[in-house]
């Protein structure tokens, strides 16, 4: 038993994560020191790589887009007390959904293909999360287990389809043909060029705008709709939900579907925005890091955007860093991300408790 941890809200959502990141960096600095490099220089290189140039910022935000989608997916499920760790599989299926639309319909103009492809990505992701939700409601199989298994199922299904059904004939690599230009979601530098604004080239595309809109809609859903109220009631107290006449089963399935649709949107960034074709493993771990993003962002869209940008910086800055410091390998960057996850998520109480104590003392001396 311990004293309840009460912090002012602003400190809870801003100060705690910032401190977590600082502590993570200090520990990571020790690792860098251990391999004989200067942690200060490494930090400078990392931040410079992520934010030092227009191109760097573009890449950072491009990675952040993926993290926003998967972070939102985890957060929405989390509000209903569900732990959706199938973001990978749902994103993979989202890619399949988008690709099928594009392969069939990319002779049509963009204003038909793109909306349909985006909806396809959401629908396939939604179905891939809905099924585990349905299984939990009807058969009592826990979503944590089933969503993990569905990650593998999605991966194998897409391999099979790429090799045997929708792959480019005569190609050695398992991927589809490149979609027509009408199925390409414009890069931000292209979109802004149309208005006469020039920004450096990067893979950052209009998906980033979609991610921001999705964040707003999730905020609206959770805190300003009746469905969101029902979702939160189920998440906080299933017995109160039953009393209130809210069907836990229905909410579980609906929430999983919304969560899956959000994860499916990752494919819009990767497949429609950047790759222009379906290929293997484009989801490359974003689904899992989404869990950390949601945790760090306290399952609030604003927090998720900030956490996603932080992870975007780590990805982009880390890539630059490993160019400049060959001894800091890609794996080191993964380790640093891991430390951030560790301190922001798992060891959160480590920072929160002393801070709550400090605040209590501060308030006392004022009062």
């Amino acid at each position: 038993m311990s004293a309840p941890i009460e912090l002012p809200k602003w400190a809870d959502v801003s100060l705690v994560p910032v401190l977590a990141v600082i502590v993570a960096f200090l520990v990571a600095g020790l690792v860098v020191l251990g391999i004989g490099e200067s942690p200060v220089r490494a930090s400078i290189l990392l931040v410079q790589g992520a934010l030092g140039s227009g191109e760097g910022i573009g890449y950072t935000l491009y990675y952040a887009t993926n993290f926003i989608f998967t972070g939102l997916a985890v957060a929405v499920a989390f509000h209903a007390g569900l732990f959706n760790i199938g973001g990978e599989g749902q994103a993979t299926m989202g890619g399949l959904g988008a690709a099928l639309i594009c392969l069939k319909l990319d002779f049509l103009p963009w204003w038909i293909v793109l909306p349909l492809a985006i909806m396809g990505a959401m629908a396939f992701g939604a179905v891939w999360a809905f099924i585990p939700g349905w299984l939990q409601v009807k058969r009592g199989s826990h979503v944590v287990i089933t969503t993990i298994m569905f990650n593998f199922l999605a991966a194998t299904l897409v391999v099979y389809l790429l090799v045997n059904v929708i792959g480019k004939p005569g190609s050695m690599s398992p991927e589809t043909r490149v979609f027509e230009a009408s199925a390409h979601l414009p890069y931000l530098h292209e979109a802004l060029a149309a208005f006469g604004i020039t920004i450096p080239q990067s893979p950052l595309n209009l998906s980033f705008v979609i991610a921001l809109v999705a964040s707003f809609l999730v905020w609206l859903l959770i805190w300003h709709t009746k469905l969101g109220y029902a979702i939160r009631t189920v998440g906080h107290s299933p017995s109160a939900a039953t009393y209130a006449g809210i069907s836990i089963g229905k909410i579980t399935m609906i929430t999983m579907a919304i969560s899956g649709a959000l994860a499916g949107l990752l494919a819009v960034n990767e497949i429609l925005g950047v790759q222009g074709r379906l290929l293997l493993e484009f989801s490359s771990g974003y689904g899992f890091i989404g869990i950390a993003v949601a945790l760090m962002g306290r399952a609030h869209p604003l927090g998720i955007i900030l956490a996603a940008i932080l992870f975007g910086m780590l990805y982009q800055g880390g890539t630059e860093l490993s160019f400049e410091m060959p001894r800091v390998t890609r794996d080191m960057i993964v380790a640093i991300s891991g430390l951030v996850i560790l301190f922001a998520g798992a060891l959160d109480g480590l920072i929160r408790r002393p801070m709550a104590g400090a605040f209590a003392r501060l308030l006392k001396s004022e009062g």
Partner: protein, 510 residues
């Protein structure tokens, strides 16, 4: 024991939670070897004060002296080191483990259990002999009756060397018989020099068991009296700060048409065991039907079945002659048909403790157009509605955005009450309306229920408090073991008669 330093001496204790000053300059002295009661309305600061003594919170200001020595208690661990033990209202026990394993928990004495267990067994045996605390050390805690589970909690504290024992609402979960046994035990402990602090709402317990009593009101210690020199009426007045009517005044009932009819109802729980065995009764508009019984004799299941939360195995529930299983099968449907429900367990069902008061105020009615058109939920509308209700039902503090869990038991119950009553019930199902609720709020709740009755609402009142059943009901039915063992009117019965029915001694036998 004259000349000795008091066991507990608190001076000028101050504690603030944000805007709320939960303890204001509180002083308390408890003599060694005495039973000291602390009474006060919910939210008066009793629990906060005891939490400070037990190290859950640290006071902002003030001194704690134990046996005359100035101490600083920053955690329950330090409290235990200072010889303070606490028995919580909700037991902190691991149900699948045995008594000895529970008592050892956290005091295993090394990595291997055998040695510690042998020592603990000896200690338990000694305590049992000293205080007559008979209990089988190898019994599984989850299988013990509640009274014995509480005894395990007391043993846990004593084994850890507690000289001061704090009990928080210890009788809330006990039968009258178990409560008697507890009081005898407390006397025995005090007789051997232990100091007992008893937090309770129930004034007759204070009168029965304590030597001294301290009254708290709105964070302040307003009086410390010798129990023998005071009366329940005086205590109640001091708790509330004005004159309280302990007896409910009500006019005769004017029952109207039959609203709710229960026919041959049989309910099995999730494990398939029979909880309600073929019961029949009817409820008229404008009457309060009291359902008495010892907790766990099928009343909870009956209430939940009537509210649509669980489905009966057999039998029918009719509202104005229509079978509710067909016309309104779900809790949401029942609500729209005017069957409203104040659940027995407000923490688990009636409210969402993590929600704001405003959000809890619409639980079950969240889909109403008044709270937002279409799929949207209007925060402003919900807030405005809550502000009105808080005013009408005197819910304090009047802050719709405050977390539900921050309200006292009485004010939480008022949130539920306000919510259900304001939706114009035809039939109101009321479960334990005043459990864990302070005197002032009890009076308020009782008045509201009688006003509703007079307005023609059919009320089913389920309560384990016989006083409540006797003073509110127009008719009384008693349940034991899932069957109705008798029906009475308050004029033709008394506690003893009802007690016999509650124990399953039916009319013919009696």
């Amino acid at each position: 024991m004259a000349g000795q330093a008091p066991a507990i001496s608190l001076s000028s204790i101050d504690k603030r939670f944000g805007e709320v000053r939960a303890n204001k300059d509180v002083n308390l002295t408890v003599a060694r070897g005495s039973v000291h009661g602390i009474v006060g309305e919910n939210g008066a600061g009793k629990s906060t004060l005891m939490s400070i003594l037990y190290g859950f919170y640290e006071a902002d200001r003030g001194e704690i002296r134990i046996n005359g020595n100035l101490v600083r208690i920053r955690s329950p661990k330090e409290a235990i080191a200072n010889g303070i033990g606490m028995v919580h209202q909700h037991f902190m026990l691991v149900e699948p483990l045995s008594v000895i394993e529970n008592v050892m928990l956290g005091a295993e004495g090394g990595a291997m259990l055998a040695k510690g267990e042998a020592k603990m067994r000896a200690a338990l045996a000694k305590l049992s002999a000293d205080y007559g605390l008979a209990i089988d050390p190898d019994a599984i805690v989850g299988e013990l009756p509640v009274g014995l589970q509480q005894r395990v909690e007391i043993l846990k504290a004593l084994v850890r060397g507690a000289e001061i024992l704090i009990l928080d609402e210890p009788t809330a979960v006990l039968t009258p018989d178990e409560a008697e046994q507890l009081f005898a035990l407390l006397h025995a402990l005090a007789g051997q020099g232990k100091t007992i602090v008893l937090i309770t709402h129930k004034l007759h317990e204070i009168m029965a068991v304590t030597d001294h009593v301290s009254v708290m009101r709105r964070g302040e210690m307003v009086a410390t009296l010798e129990t023998a020199a005071t009366s329940p009426a005086e205590l109640a007045d001091r708790m509330v700060g004005r004159h309280v009517l302990l007896d409910v005044s009500k006019g005769p009932a004017h029952p109207g048409a039959v609203r709710l009819t229960v026919e041959n109802l049989v309910i099995r729980d999730a494990h398939g065991s029979l909880k309600v065995k073929n019961i029949n009764f009817s409820l008229r508009a404008g009457e309060i039907l009291g359902l008495a019984g010892v907790a766990g004799n099928g009343q909870s299941e009956l209430l939940e079945a009537l509210a649509g939360i669980i489905q009966p195995t057999l039998g029918r529930i009719l509202l104005d002659g229509d079978d509710l299983a067909l016309t309104a099968p779900t809790p949401a449907d029942r609500r729209t048909h005017g069957v409203l429900h104040i659940p027995e367990d407000r923490q688990r069902m009636g409210l969402v403790s993590a929600f704001s008061a405003a959000e809890s105020m619409i639980l079950g009615f969240q889909s109403e157009v008044a709270f937002g058109s279409g799929p949207m939920l209007s925060t402003e509308a919900v807030r405005a509605h809550t502000e009105t209700q808080m005013e009408a039902y005197d819910i304090r503090p009047r802050d719709p955005s405050l977390k539900t869990s921050k309200f006292s038991g009485g004010n939480q119950q008022k949130i539920v009450l306000a919510r259900e009553i304001e939706h114009h019930p035809k039939v109101l199902l009321v479960g334990q309306p005043t459990r864990g609720v302070d005197v002032g709020a009890i009076e308020f709740i009782h008045k509201r229920l009688i006003a509703l009755r007079d307005a023609g609402v059919a009320i089913l009142l389920v309560s384990v408090e016989l006083d409540e059943i006797m003073s509110l009901s127009d008719r009384i039915i008693v349940m034991c073991g899932g069957v109705i063992t008798g029906e009475r009117t308050p004029e033709t019965t008394n506690d003893r008669d009802l007690g016999l029915l509650m124990a399953g001694v039916t009319e013919r036998a009696a």
